[in-house]
């Protein structure tokens, strides 16, 4: 049974998506989707435990042995990211039924659940597969579902945001396709572990550089690294709140995973850096992203947009971790990838609750909410503390490792950037908190968010605190993943 889990992880949500349409009422579809997400989460837990106890797991799709057939490989890194994505999906979907109520007409809600499951399929597939062309297919599965999810937003700008993301996202995926086309022409293989062995023997260094360039730019577009982030703010601001929550917590993280997998695991960081200055570019772009996006976030009046820019800044931290180039730096990136998913999930879910009650995500709508929605706002405050990086929260752990990595490599400027970035995030989050706890003119009665949204929010908030105190799971898994990747052995 355990040997079939890698494929079940992906096939289960894929089959659940069309199966949703057996049901007629949106509520039954939601319950069914919850069940599918819970099962998917269960599979990822089983995989994670298996991989940490026994070791990597490989699955040959259709019984064709690799490198001819498509291979699914689950090692410590992929099981760690699978666990994260499926956990986020299972928590977020709990809140979906309540949150969608005022945001999407009942007859369109089935489409949301189908798209949600397809998007989850794509994201899990990217992580599970060991074949670069298969990655492209799953990248497009998740992207197409994402475009449609964004277009479900209430305002007409959602359509415009979806269209713009579609153009940019398709160009990104096409770049990736060109890159792996060159790699195939050079090596004659698409299997990742086979590719990593054969790339060493390639003699046409110039073509290799072009291939790496296409792949890196394609993935950087998908993960919204600073100059390529243009699609993200509108997409996050206008998508249905619950879709934003899921995407912000998982989609860019999976792209980052893909980059780490290819850059370290398949191409080899040293091979790439000999041809292209990827790590320096990531370091510089990451630093600019942290500073610029944080400052822009401070100026936003829409909280969803503010958090979207904050996400771009946080991607910057992860890029800086990769740019530092050491094992510790990579570990910091992997930790932040995990922790930031819970932080942003919690923050966007709190905003979704506010949108549910007030119908707006403008910052003015938060006035006095600390008294009207005390539990929601308490969750928002705790998640904000975690984003800033206050000790005993998850955000502190990852920033601490990033600072350690920077000191180890003697990059004092990075230490400074982390501190300044955290300081700016304190300011923009304080704007929300201050308004939320100031007395409003019209004293409305207590009007808390629906119970399921609160439960989902607090699961994420408690995860933030739990992973800030008990770091065995995150630090252990990221340390073993980073060590395996840096040593150059992909699996």
């Amino acid at each position: 049974m355990i040997s079939h889990l890698p494929i079940l992880q992906v096939v289960l949500p894929l089959l659940a998506a069309p199966a949703c349409l057996i049901f007629v009422r949106a509520r039954s579809i939601w319950l069914f989707t919850c069940l599918a997400c819970l099962l998917t989460f269960g599979i990822s837990v089983a995989l994670f435990l298996h991989v940490s106890d026994v070791g990597p797991l490989s699955y040959e799709v259709g019984g064709w042995p690799a490198p001819w057939g498509i291979e699914y490989t689950i090692d410590s890194l992929s099981s760690y990211v699978l666990l994260l994505v499926s956990a986020i999906a299972a928590v977020v979907i709990l809140a979906a039924n309540s949150s969608l109520g005022p945001e999407l007409p009942e007859r369109q809600q089935p489409a949301f659940y189908v798209l949600f499951l397809l998007c989850l399929t794509g994201l899990l597939g990217i992580v599970a597969t060991g074949d670069v062309f298969n990655v492209f297919v799953f990248l497009e599965v998740s992207s197409l579902a994402t475009y449609a999810l964004i277009a479900l937003g209430r305002q007409r700008q959602a359509l415009w945001a979806a269209y713009q993301y579609l153009i940019v996202g398709t160009i990104g995926a096409s770049f990736f396709l060109v890159g792996i086309g060159f790699l195939y022409a050079l090596t004659g293989t698409l299997n990742m572990s086979d590719l990593s062995e054969r790339l060493v023997e390639v003699e046409q260094q110039q073509l290799l550089a072009v291939a790496f360039g296409f792949v890196v730019v394609g993935i950087a577009l998908k993960m919204a690294l600073l100059p390529l982030h243009g699609w993200l703010p509108n997409a996050y601001a206008f998508a249905p709140s619950i879709a934003t929550t899921f995407l912000a917590a998982s989609a860019t993280k999976v792209s980052l995973y893909l980059f780490i997998r290819l850059y370290y695991g398949v191409f080899g960081a040293e091979t790439v850096d000999a041809l292209l200055p990827v790590s320096i570019v990531f370091l510089l772009l990451g630093i600019i992203a942290v500073l610029a996006a944080s400052l822009v976030a401070f100026r936003q009046s829409d909280v969803k947009r503010m958090l979207a820019f904050s996400s771009i800044a946080q991607i910057g931290y992860m890029a800086v971790g990769i740019g530092v180039g050491s094992t510790l730096g990579l570990q910091a990136s992997l930790l932040h990838l995990f922790n930031h998913a819970f932080i942003k999930g919690a923050l966007f879910l709190a905003v979704a609750s506010v949108v549910y009650r007030t119908g707006s995500s403008q910052i003015d709508a938060f006035r006095g909410l600390g008294y009207r929605m005390p539990w929601t706002m308490a969750g928002l405050v705790l998640a904000s503390l975690s984003l800033i990086g206050v000790p005993l929260t998850a955000g502190f752990v990852s920033k601490w490792f990033l600072v350690l990595a920077a000191i180890e490599s003697g990059l004092w400027v990075v230490v400074l950037i982390v501190l300044v970035g955290s300081f700016i995030s304190l300011f923009y989050l304080w704007k929300i908190v201050e308004l939320a706890y100031s007395k409003s003119d019209s004293e409305a009665s207590r009007n808390e968010a629906p119970p399921l949204m609160l439960i989902a929010l607090w699961v994420l908030v408690i995860a933030n605190i739990y992973f800030g105190i008990d770091t065995r799971l995150t630090v252990g898994a990221s340390a073993s993943a980073a060590a395996t990747l840096i040593e150059g052995a992909p699996w």
Partner: protein, 113 residues
Amino acid sequence: MDFFNYWVVIALMMTGLYIVMAQQNLVKKLLGLNIFQTAIFILYISVAKVLGGTAPIYTESATLYSNPLPHVLILTAIVVGIATMALALALVVRIHGAYGSIEDDEIRDRSKQ
């Protein structure tokens, strides 16, 4: 002219990318995107060609075949491209309904209102 196919690929790719960036009309942008994707398909098919090789169908008379794998990959990519185009055109129809225009600049103006 040894690399004729690849020159065509580069020309088409750049044409497509230029149209995506320069055109204001949403449908024309999609046409550019389509040309860009088609160039990639030709790239893969050109890589697959083995000089003197025949179509990868097993017969007694042939000993040299072209590589069939990129053909299969591109069949997949074509399907993905069609799905993308269908979704994009559906979005354009909805945008036209919501904004009354499919021109980039007009939509930007009306978005701000």
